[in-house]
Symmetry: C2
């Protein structure tokens, strides 16, 4: 089967950094914890677990040792709690996510109502929510009633949303009765390039695969965008999850992957896909 | 014929003030000029001309006397020119328009690229354009290429635009590659109430009349909005302009008017319309 891999896909700078920090810490220390999965990729988290990383969902589960703050960040209250417990803290928060947190705090200090466009339960958004007293989360148009009337709104966006969604929500906010709107563009430019590259690719293929954690916001967003262009789009975690009957009759497949998907998952998927039809022997094509 | 008049229509605060200032000045002084029509209503301008107001299009046409700055304002350069000629200046600029001018200057002083959403050739917009070195006018989506990449944009809106258009354009700007967006809501709340009242009314009537100057931006906007709800919408300046054959077979007519349309034009129109069908005798109904 002919396989085309998106020009831009896989690990972003923030994820690569978080993995590097985790691996370095695991090599140097014992009793290393991550508060929530360090990145949204089960296979990668399992691999790090084998090297000793313990992923916990609550601070109460940690008694001593070193705590890694994952790429999505943590709220100041959580950091304070970790400090109280005298734990060694190593911060692997993505610098772009850190910037969103700073802006939220700045907005509040300057008298703005803080608004974040994003998914309420995503850890990145939750950490930002913890950076000011009252952060309003707007996932879509149905949340607009959360906005106060006639207010000064300071707006940021979850880094992995698409410019299309960001713009649509700014338009919707712009129709409300606001007094002032200050918006800082906090979209990740890497994520945008991956989205553009994925959309370009899925126009050229019969079937499109988006590889990445099911909880990974940027992977879900990639899959959503691809689906608008190519209905034969599937979001999978790895080759094992693929229902091979989907490939029947298809000639060209496209592959992209979220920012938290390691290269070996993409490579394995591509190789298996290429081998699936013996009549085809194309190499790793890029678009 | 049954006639319903919009609850909110006709003179707004800014126009009423400009007319009051003009009448007072004309009663006290001789040689009174207006730089451009004082408001966008031919009948009203003609009435003031009878009282002595001379409307000129260029400063060069004025040698001495008093100059009224019309409700739409004037650019600082124009005011400076008038001062140089030692003319007596009386400012009848609407306070909301004045606010847009101040914000544009503030934006520029704070390092923003100044953007106004509005009609490029409208005098209100032209006066704002004159308040900063480089003001970018965005009338609709096709003007978005005027925006610089990756910039800090300070955005205001022509006061008489609709929240719907303002929101749509903010959404479109939000999809571009901006760095920061600071938006001050400069829409006139009176204009919005008139728009809402007109839209409500035109859902209830067979035929809708929007009275006001053909150059009046707020009247044109009212007509546009009404047309989206009731295709039988006509923008006229007064009763004389009405093609009476349009009324054939219609039972209920709605009437609204722009912010620069005097009451006597609305009253005359309503009375003539009511008298048009002798079988109907409803009073001035309000919705």
């Amino acid at each position: 089967m002919k396989v085309l891999v998106a020009e831009k896909c896989g690990f972003c700078h923030g994820v690569r950094n978080a993995i590097r920090v985790a691996e370095k810490t695991l090599a140097e220390k014992k009793g290393v914890y991550s508060l929530g999965p360090i990145i949204h990729n089960r296979d990668m988290v399992e691999q790090l677990a084998k090297s000793g990383l313990k992923t916990v969902s609550k601070i109460e589960e940690i008694q001593s040792g070193t705590v890694l703050i994952r790429s999505h960040g943590a709220a100041p209250k959580q950091i304070a709690k970790l400090r109280e417990k005298d734990l060694n803290i190593i911060d692997a928060t993505c610098i772009l996510v850190k910037r969103v947190q700073h802006i939220a705090t700045e907005f509040e200090n300057n008298g703005y109502e803080v608004v974040i466009i994003g998914e309420e339960n995503h850890p990145e958004v939750q950490a930002v929510v913890g950076c000011a007293r009252n952060v309003i989360v707007i996932a879509n148009e149905s949340d607009l009633n959360r906005l106060p009337e006639n207010a000064r709104l300071g707006v940021v966006c979850q880094t992995t949303q698409s410019p299309e969604h960001f713009g649509r929500m700014l338009g919707a906010i712009g129709r409300t009765n606001f007094s002032e709107l200050k918006v800082i563009n906090t979209l990740c430019k890497e994520a945008i390039k991956r989205q553009e590259s994925a959309v370009r690719l899925c126009k050229q293929v019969d079937i499109m695969f988006v590889l990445g954690g099911l909880e990974s916001a940027n992977t879900r967003r990639l899959a959503e965008l691809c689906r608008t262009v190519n209905k034969q789009t599937y979001h999978l975690q790895n080759w094992d999850e693929l229902d091979k009957s989907l490939l029947t009759g298809e000639k060209t497949a496209g592959v992209t992957a979220g920012a938290s998907t390691p290269d070996w998952i993409i490579d394995e998927f591509r190789q298996n896909l290429e081998a699936f039809d013996n009549s085809s022997s194309s190499g790793k094509a890029t678009v």
